[in-house]
């Protein structure tokens, strides 16, 4: 029966090509617009570490003694002493410190001019905690952290730029004036967003595209990085002006992030107690004024709190769906016209014994077919839309690709939309009174 209805639907669509084309184009444009924006949304709002984001937490304490009022969120980063104290306590399964800065890079044995790059200074747990993939070599050791070793891990991008993608483990890289030995090269690694440096989203007024930048060019041990690039560090904020710009170790500034990995719920609540205990102790020492103001947010909570998805992307998505709704109303109207124009034919079918359900099914098949055709058009328009997104000068432009799930969603959405649009007209058509129609024939 289905194939027969399909045949009928094809005939009916061919009978009025203009009307069919109008409906297919309306659905295709609506689907194209909404799937383009939905794909961008899907890519930007996804979980960067789906397997373990539930065990990763971002710790915050309120180190700013100058702030008045109680219900204020603690600063997004910590001062050097709080961060290092909490890190060296080693109370979590894994813990890592995060500081990023700009630095001059040069490969002494490669004939290229120096370039400015980004450097992440972190501790050895960074790599296993965030599942960072290596192409060559591996991470440094915990001793390297302690010894302030002059070693570095570089990104695939930088390896391609400086060494043409060769296995560059053991080669020398000059960071500012210091030579470091490369111990590892990452595989192309592009977390979306670059979650471990996300902060300050609530002050960004929705302009958060830079959270989707590529990971840093160079990763060095925390202790070494702070020495190599001393004087060039940027603070998240300072409650007093530091005496020496860019040198933040003893400065009244928040500039270090702390991530911890906690494997179970008990460990999480233990760590919360530990944080609170630390803050209370610091208050007793007179360093903190807001001891009870600590936070331990799960990775996804932290991303939500920072509103990582740029507000323009949300706005575009809602706009596209409003447009799809208009296309839907349009299709309902046109389908209604199309089905009721065939009232006579439907009357004959009903008089010959077809049930209302059969007429309803026949109409829905036709609507579904329009949806499928619209889906193909919508898929092509989505590809075009994503191509346009990729040409934008935004940090996330290179991420905009259609994955399998979104490809399937395109067609599912198209067919569901057209079935929704077809339901009401089909119901109307199935209620055509056969007697009345036969009389007018």
């Amino acid at each position: 029966m289905f194939t027969y209805y399909l045949d009928l639907a094809l005939r009916s669509l061919k009978r009025n090509r203009v009307l069919t084309a109008l409906m297919v184009i309306a659905i295709a444009v609506g689907i194209g617009a909404s799937m383009t924006t939905l794909t961008v949304m899907h890519l930007l709002s996804g979980d960067p570490l789906p397997n373990k984001s539930g065990t990763l937490f971002y710790a915050q304490v309120d180190a700013d003694p100058t702030r008045t009022g109680d219900n204020i969120e603690p600063l997004d980063m910590m001062d050097y002493h709080s961060a290092v104290d909490l890190w060296s306590a080693h109370r979590a399964d894994r813990q890592t410190l995060i500081v990023d800065s700009d630095i001059k890079l040069l490969a002494p044995d490669v004939n290229l001019p120096p370039l400015m790059g980004t450097m992440l200074s972190t501790t050895v747990d960074f790599f296993p905690m965030f599942d960072v993939p290596f192409q060559y070599g591996g991470s440094w050791t915990a001793q390297d952290d302690a010894k302030h070793a002059r070693v570095a891990v570089i990104s695939a991008d930088l390896n391609a730029k400086l060494f043409g993608g060769a296995a560059s483990v053991g080669r020398t890289l000059r960071l500012r004036d210091t030579d470091v030995r490369i111990v590892g090269v990452l595989k192309p690694w592009r977390p979306s967003p670059q979650f471990y440096t996300v902060r300050g989203g609530r002050f960004a007024h929705g302009d958060t595209a830079d959270f989707y930048a590529r990971p840093e060019d160079v990763i060095t041990p925390f202790t070494s990085g702070l020495e190599i690039n001393d004087g060039n560090f940027q603070s998240f904020t300072c409650w007093h002006i530091p005496d020496q710009p860019g040198h933040l170790i003893n400065a009244p500034c928040a500039w270090v992030g702390l991530w911890v990995e906690l494997g179970s719920a008990t460990k999480v609540s233990d760590y919360r107690h530990f944080l609170a205990g630390y803050a209370a102790q610091q208050k007793a020492l007179g360093r903190f004024t807001h001891a009870d103001n600590t936070r331990l947010r799960e990775l996804m909570q932290w991303l939500d709190f920072n509103g990582v998805v740029p507000s323009d992307v949300c706005l575009q998505m809602w706009l596209a769906f409003a447009f799809l709704a208009i296309c839907l109303f349009n299709t309902v109207g046109l389908l209604l016209a199309k089905f009721l124009r065939r009232s006579g034919e439907i009357g004959v079918r009903r008089a010959l014994g077809a049930s209302r359900a059969a007429v309803f099914a026949q109409c829905l098949v036709e609507a579904g077919l329009i949806g499928l055709l619209g889906g193909i058009g919508g898929w092509l328009l989505t590809m075009a839309g994503l191509w346009l997104v990729r040409r934008q000068p935004t940090a996330y432009a290179d991420l905009a690709h259609l994955d399998v799930s979104m490809f399937l969603t395109t067609f599912v959405l198209a067919v569901v939309v057209s079935l929704l649009a077809g339901a009401l007209p089909a119901l109307r058509a199935s209620r055509v009174a056969p007697g009345l129609q036969l009389k007018t024939l």
């Binding site: 444009v29 100058t66 002006i241 109207g333 046109l334 009721l340 009401l424």
Partner: protein, 404 residues
């Protein structure tokens, strides 16, 4: 033209009428708000930076040590000044639309209790204020001894110029000249008021604070250097900038030229507003597609009704109705339907605006958008229905006597 029979006929097609009314209502709501969003973005893009953008370019060097800044400044300034066509060069920390360099919160009391907002500090060496083309509307320009040398972030005590917009925010309705403000232990006294000087990232901290800047006259030295303001005739500027790139790589080979920032101020402005331009383009695209889809919907349904009513039209023509009567019938019918859609759409437009106001920093939709949106939709409806209505008017009276 009697409206009664039209309403009676529409009552027979309640569902189709309702659909088209809803479609128009939604279109009206989206249209009004999309236009308003476009107007907002365009308003942002028209921002007056207060500087002579077309004659200015910026050069930024990185990757050198603070100790050599003074020497670097001397080498680079000498090199840049030798470029033919260069009108002037001075040292400044940043320019509007380049990276933000001196943003900080200020207070209007020494104890730091009365927060005045986050402002951009521009630190400029002698000559830079004239080179930028800043207009001083009250007070005076900095004199030679106002340019202080400093070693950290800013001079600890300075006479500064603030923008009108910042002065009005800090001291509403009062004369800002001679007023003081603080940033931690740094003290500032207002010596002059600038007409405009946009912050480096206008809109980045909200639309209201786009012009909250302070110009601090300073001497170039270890804490200010590596970034230079170039001025040339707009016609020469691209060439001068190209040569400037070549000069700095020659005179300061061990530094890194920041190519993203070392561009003309107009180019920096263009890049800064790229996001708004994209959004405006997308909104325009949606508006066009929306109007097109709505029009097609009206055409489709009107054609269906015309075909359905061929006999009735024939009968009306046979008993004396003119073509103009038939034409006017369909036009009036469309007008009524669109009017219904607009009435509902205005309420929806306001609802949508309230939603946008809570999620985006958008002001209230001005009332005049509604009649403009209504006029646009009425015009669209009349245009869309014209084709089917003309076809209806062309139905010959003889149809009445034929059976199907």
């Amino acid at each position: 033209m009697q409206i009664q029979p039209i309403l009676a006929a529409l009552r027979k097609h309640r569902l189709a009428t309702l659909l088209i009314v809803l479609e128009i209502a939604l279109a009206c709501a989206v249209l009004c708000n999309a236009c308003f969003l476009i107007a907002n973005r365009l308003g942002m893009m028209q921002l007056v930076s207060g500087v002579d953008e077309s004659s200015l370019a910026f050069i930024r060097l990185t990757g050198y040590d603070d100790k050599i800044t003074a020497d670097l400044n001397a080498r680079v300034l000498a090199g840049l000044r030798a470029i033919p066509g260069m009108q002037s060069v001075s040292v400044i920390n940043t320019v509007p639309f380049a990276q933000q360099r001196g943003a900080s919160g200020i207070t209007t009391d020494a104890a730091g209790q009365h927060f005045g907002g986050v402002v951009d500090f521009y630190t400029g060496a002698p000559g830079s204020i004239e080179e930028l083309g800043l207009r001083v509307v009250a007070g005076q320009r900095p004199q030679a001894d106002d340019y202080r040398s400093f070693s950290n972030f800013l001079p600890t005590d300075a006479r500064v110029l603030v923008t009108q917009s910042l002065a009005e925010h800090l001291w509403p309705g009062a004369d800002p000249l001679g007023r003081e403000f603080w940033m931690d232990k740094y003290h500032f006294r207002v010596m002059g008021v600038l007409a405009h000087l946009a912050v480096a990232r206008p809109g980045g901290r909200g639309a209201n604070s786009a012009d909250w800047s302070v110009f601090v006259p300073v001497q170039a030295g270890s804490s200010l250097g590596g970034s230079y303001l170039l001025r040339a005739d707009p016609a020469n500027l691209p060439r001068v900038l190209r040569e400037a790139h070549a000069v700095v790589t020659k005179v300061a080979p061990d530094t890194v030229l920041d190519r993203d920032e070392s561009r003309t101020v107009s180019a920096l402005r263009h890049t800064w507003f790229q996001r708004d331009r994209t959004m405006t383009g997308m909104l325009l695209g949606v508006i066009v597609a929306l109007l097109l889809v709505t029009a097609l919907g009206i055409v489709g349904l009107a054609s269906f009704w015309v075909q359905q009513r061929r006999r009735q039209i024939g009968i009306r023509r046979a008993i004396g109705a003119t073509r103009a009567d038939i034409l006017r019938y369909f036009q009036t019918e469309n007008f009524l339907i669109v009017s219904g859609g607009i009435a509902l759409g205005m309420a929806l437009a306001f609802g949508l605006n309230l939603l946008l106001m809570t999620h985006y920093e958008l002001p209230r939709l001005p009332l005049y958008y509604l009649p403009i949106g209504a006029l646009a939709l009425w015009a669209l409806g009349q245009l869309a229905v014209l084709g089917p209505a003309l076809r209806a008017a062309a139905v010959p009276p003889v149809v009445a006597t034929r059976s199907v």
